[in-house]
Symmetry: C2
DNA sequence: ATAGCCGTTGCCGAAACGGCAGCAACATGT
DNA sequence: ACATGTTGCTGCCGTTTCGGCAACGGCTAT
């Protein structure tokens, strides 16, 4: 089932590894073979594809164009393979997901477990990273489905869905704020606060609002792990901020309380986007999981908005 | 610049020609070479790609899947080529258009002439056919852009735009109806009528409406050429029906009059769709022309609706 | 039956591919 | 400054693959 020129495969490997010898190791061939294929490719295109640095290869502009084409070819080949396989009833393949941390607590594990219950032959690879890294992984073809904060996305990605969740304060049930239904930022800042570091998107959501306030918040804890922040909040250390997506279980055990944030009377939204490479048709098994993901996030969005109704 | 396996190219040629020997003639190679590549391909996929009939080859289900993949690959290769070429300033390529007859009178020639005035190196191939044939040409990868009546389109096509134009009666300026502003179907059927044959979409637009009427229309002329129907109307032979798109010039010379059709108080719409293959990114020069086409049709739709305002 | 077209198959020369070993260029560590 | 490791590249050569030629059997139309 390998009916594409070695040049294509070799080029792809070199692009990923950034080195001819490394690519040769991955491909189980001699480095000279790889080198020659790249040279031949450059001759046929009529322009160098890589810049030869002392410590490896970097794509030129033309190289990036070819990389895009090769990625389209190989990803579509995957889809073709899965189409043929599904014809003989075998639904197998790997779904590769890149997502931000908010999903790891309940959404993703629930979905994957449920999906694997029905389709045993489909395996998963998930990688948790920052929003911009998620998008980059998708662009580089290292992931099939990406879930990230809905910022501006590059044109080679397609936003499959956009779901908004309320940002809220998370406190232990013994916290003085815990009895309220909603809180304002000012009310939270009267207490010790667990701040997100700039690598987390929560930081970029809250910072502008905090900057608008006259008060300077009292010294607080800063962290770059949503998990850690949640656990700190559960121990009564302070007030953390995140969407309700991440506190499903702890909230059930009644250790944590989620209080939707009110900013001048209107909610603070955290927009979650689901992304896919635009120039690509997904394999059937990936498309199937994607649909479930969109449906599930839509369901959570609906439930949450029903639980905390508001204007706007 | 041919860095894809010969298998791919050969398979594509065989699919298009429907025969190995014919493909070999097109490819300027021996038929044995083509035969062997196909056999190798089938062995690698693990399933026959063609059914060997006495008079040539037909795709199997798996073969159609591979054809889809190969088409994606080759079309994306075209795009890559044009991307590289545009990097060195040379904007050249061929835009292949399949469209229905309504466009040939003014829209398409105007657009192509104007576009070539600005981009000399871009050439055009246009093929006029029925709506369903237009869509099929697109699906088979024989055209880049398709313009057809907006019926249900297959899922492998993407509807880039949908423009609606009023269907109207076309009569010579000496015709008794020519002084009216609008006409009803009943009023038209009182005169000799130039009917469209079922191969034209106008037939399918008008037939249901005519069937609703109690009167049986008087014997009339039937034709399958919009051009012919228009010329007949200009000679006072009868009342023809079409959108205003097709009578730009004659209307300017004041030989023909366009009378928007009223059916029980509401207009009769003719929906025009612009289509491209969904699993494809167009080359820059094709995309550019597509944008102009959409803009121009939108402009005509707007102008027409301004000239003949109505409710709904 | 005959002629014509179809796809397939041996056979063989030509072209492409890959492995091995060695080269110069550069970075790193002592 | 020197040694070491890594990088990409290049002859050389055996292996694999590819393509052209001719021939074969199967089929259709005349």
């Amino acid at each position: 089932m390998r009916f594409h020129s070695p040049s294509i495969q070799y080029f792809h490997a070199v692009r990923r590894t950034g080195s001819i010898r490394a690519a040769a190791r991955v491909l189980n061939v001699a480095s000279s073979a790889v080198s020659r294929q790249i040279l031949k490719l450059e001759q046929e295109v009529g322009s160098p594809l890589f810049e030869r640095n002392a410590r490896g290869l970097t794509l030129t502009t033309v190289g990036e164009m070819l990389a895009r084409h090769v990625m389209n070819v190989l990803q579509d080949l995957d889809r073709f393979r899965s189409d043929v396989a599904s014809l003989s009833g075998a639904w197998s393949g790997t779904v590769s997901i890149a997502c931000i941390e908010s999903l790891t607590e309940s959404v993703l594990p629930d979905l994957i477990a449920s999906h694997r219950g029905r389709a045993r032959r489909v395996s998963f690879t998930t990688e948790v990273k920052g929003s911009s890294d998620v998008l980059e992984s998708l662009s580089r073809g290292e992931a099939d489905i990406g879930i990230a904060m809905a910022l501006r996305h590059p044109p080679d990605l397609r936003q499959v869905a956009l779901k908004r969740f309320r940002l809220g304060a998370v406190v232990a049930r013994e916290h003085p704020l815990a009895r309220r239904k909603t809180v304002t930022l000012e009310q939270c800042l009267a207490f010790p606060v667990i701040n997100a570091l700039p690598e987390l998107s929560i930081y970029h959501l809250l910072q502008p609002l905090i900057a608008q306030l006259s008060e300077t918040p009292e010294p607080a804890i800063q962290a770059n792990s949503i998990d850690l922040m949640r656990e700190l909040a559960a121990r009564g250390v302070g007030v953390a901020f995140q969407t309700q997506l991440g506190i499903g279980r702890l909230s059930r055990d009644s250790q944590l309380v989620f209080l939707p944030l009110d900013n001048a009377g209107s909610p603070v939204w955290s927009d979650l986007g689901i992304y896919v490479r635009a120039e690509r048709t997904l394999p059937a098994y990936t498309e199937s999981f994607l649909q479930e993901l969109v449906r599930e996030l839509g369901e959570r969005e609906r439930r949450e908005n029903a639980a905390y109704p508001q204007t706007q």
